[in-house]
Symmetry: C2
Subunit: 422 residues, 2 copies
Amino acid sequence: MTIQESILQLAQRARQASREARLAPTHVKNAVLASCAEMIESGIDDLRRENQKDLEAGKKSGLSSAMLDRLNLSDKTVKSMTEGLREVAALPDPVDEIIHAWRRPNGLEIGRMRVPLGVIAIIYESRPNVTIDAAALCFKAGNATVLRGGSEAFHSNQALAGVFRKACEKHGICPDVVQVLDTTDRAAVGALLKLNNYIDVVIPRGGRSLIERVVDESRIPVIKHFDGICHVYVDSEADLDVANDIVFNAKVQRPGVCNAMETLLVHQAVADGFLPGSLKRLAEAGVELRGSESVQKILQGSGLNILPATEEDWRTEYLDLVLSIEVVDSMEAAIDHIDKYGSHHTDTIVTRSWERGRRFLREVDSATVLVNASTRFSDGQQFGLGAEIGISTDKLHARGPMGLTDLVCTKFVVSGDGQVRT
Amino acid sequence: MTIQESILQLAQRARQASREARLAPTHVKNAVLASCAEMIESGIDDLRRENQKDLEAGKKSGLSSAMLDRLNLSDKTVKSMTEGLREVAALPDPVDEIIHAWRRPNGLEIGRMRVPLGVIAIIYESRPNVTIDAAALCFKAGNATVLRGGSEAFHSNQALAGVFRKACEKHGICPDVVQVLDTTDRAAVGALLKLNNYIDVVIPRGGRSLIERVVDESRIPVIKHFDGICHVYVDSEADLDVANDIVFNAKVQRPGVCNAMETLLVHQAVADGFLPGSLKRLAEAGVELRGSESVQKILQGSGLNILPATEEDWRTEYLDLVLSIEVVDSMEAAIDHIDKYGSHHTDTIVTRSWERGRRFLREVDSATVLVNASTRFSDGQQFGLGAEIGISTDKLHARGPMGLTDLVCTKFVVSGDGQVRT
């Protein structure tokens, strides 16, 4: 059997199983998730043995210690997987919810009902826990999942998916609702991305090159999770103490994630008063500062080391303790900067002005726009959506933090008593 | 300038203009639409002159009379355009609507706000009125539009878009919110479909080969409007008079559209009683009947001409007075047939059973599922959504009849008073 044939068969099995997942009662889905958590706990030695194979192969092939760390099924990772499963089980089931219903003059009653998407393919990189996290969310939303993890996590991913499948079988659900590609051949992904008759959506989770490749090759709709080049704009009417805390939090609390601030914009009216103290605090926390000429001028003689910011800096997602800083002469200039250089992910204004807060919320075209709060809140958990599959930078279907209700679509359900059209 | 360069510039102008469209007040957008209707009426002679060029070229190149008819800006077509503009002006503006808002324990207030998608490309075939219909809907939803009509309607489309642009200028809106590609070169579409940095979504409106080409070439997300292979299932518990009227209406009232019935499924318990009368009525209306062996057997000696239905028939969208007919031995078999052969567009059950109606609504995975009503109701106007841009057969973002609220996306707006994440 060629790779194309074996991927086709896998996708056909997923499509077939998706009918069962679609109609599975909530209590059965929740029982599968709970059993999966228990089976991970009770079968942890077997999982560790498979994980060890990946770790050893990784060491041999010279993976960095950071990569090996991400690959490792540590106690913490295992706990986060089992807690995640139980948390998803506790979330409300989005399937069959009627989000809007109305009656027409001719007596037809029309409703929009949330229904599963069908088959979701997830293509991801090193962390094996994504196997469980993604499968759990997709399954709770009534979908079948085709998973393709990084080749360096091959054995771990197979073992984890195997546990999920066993949990399905235990509750009479066809295990093919969760499948992992059983090859590390790159051609398998190419073949998968052509199967738009069997797979409804592809979600790539990983770096830009992975996502670009999926977009290039896919005939299946893709939901993309691109960079977060997030801004905090400190307005002329900002409370500078509030601004100081938000700026520090947005940059330092967890710099390696997509909702961390990468660029600070400060209104010129408050730049002299705000920047020296705020940047000193950031520098003391180890942040490398890159400022425009105006910024460097203000900080002259402060003793702080401000590197010159280049055009490239405004377009860079550092994911690290690095910050680019610009002074703007108006809120409009700040919005223009965000529009030109940002990634339309998450942007914040700090202001005491009601009118400027309202305008910023309306005029900034990003997935999340905040007033007087840290960019770090742009997150499914923080929003109260429960676990998230990621943060979409697309505009279609899902934008921003994607929870369970973004893993379904809707259908129109219409109830009549013999109506015909005239 | 190469075609690639000129398309790039056009897309850049659209992106720039989309900022203006996004923030345009409702009353200004409505005034543009009203002025456009007036200008079409007052400038009808100029429009007809341009339309005449296309009609003459079409005659020369041997277009069929059906094609020429679709190309013609008849009084009826003009009236439908101007009425459409006024109707879209009267629809509620979807932009800035908060569809859901809540407060978190930490005091953050979070809302999902409807905002325009940005730039929408529409690629369509012969009918020039689509130029106005599509531009009006997209503009009312705050978007800029890039239009590419059929080459046979080139002059008509340019002239109609010119009127829309003049209406924009009259009210101080940048006319680049509506642009038509000024070339009939096929390479222009290929170039357009690569510009995912400037265009947010592509909606192809036309035959399967057009849509397939767009899906193949596009790096921009596509919303597809594929076939409607729609079913009416007459259940064992159907009211046969109701079934007779629904079947007749779904097939005959307007056979050339995607929500017309193509396949009739009848439960074996009522097939003997239902089929002869119902099929006679259809035959008298000029419908060609293609039945399975069981159907042929039931109709033996009836005098009706039933051609044998092939496997291919179940998968065919006739868009004509042709009907394929099958007898099934259970509702499950009907649902299986719909799942296997249908296009998941629109499907109806006729039944008096509450339980079977409920099950059909839930278990059939189509964009529109009806009980005791004609498939012909699967339509934006009939649903009360107002004008529609089409009927999406995709599951992502929009499924089924697409109205104004499907031409926007959402963003999260978050209001705080200094919250930082711990």
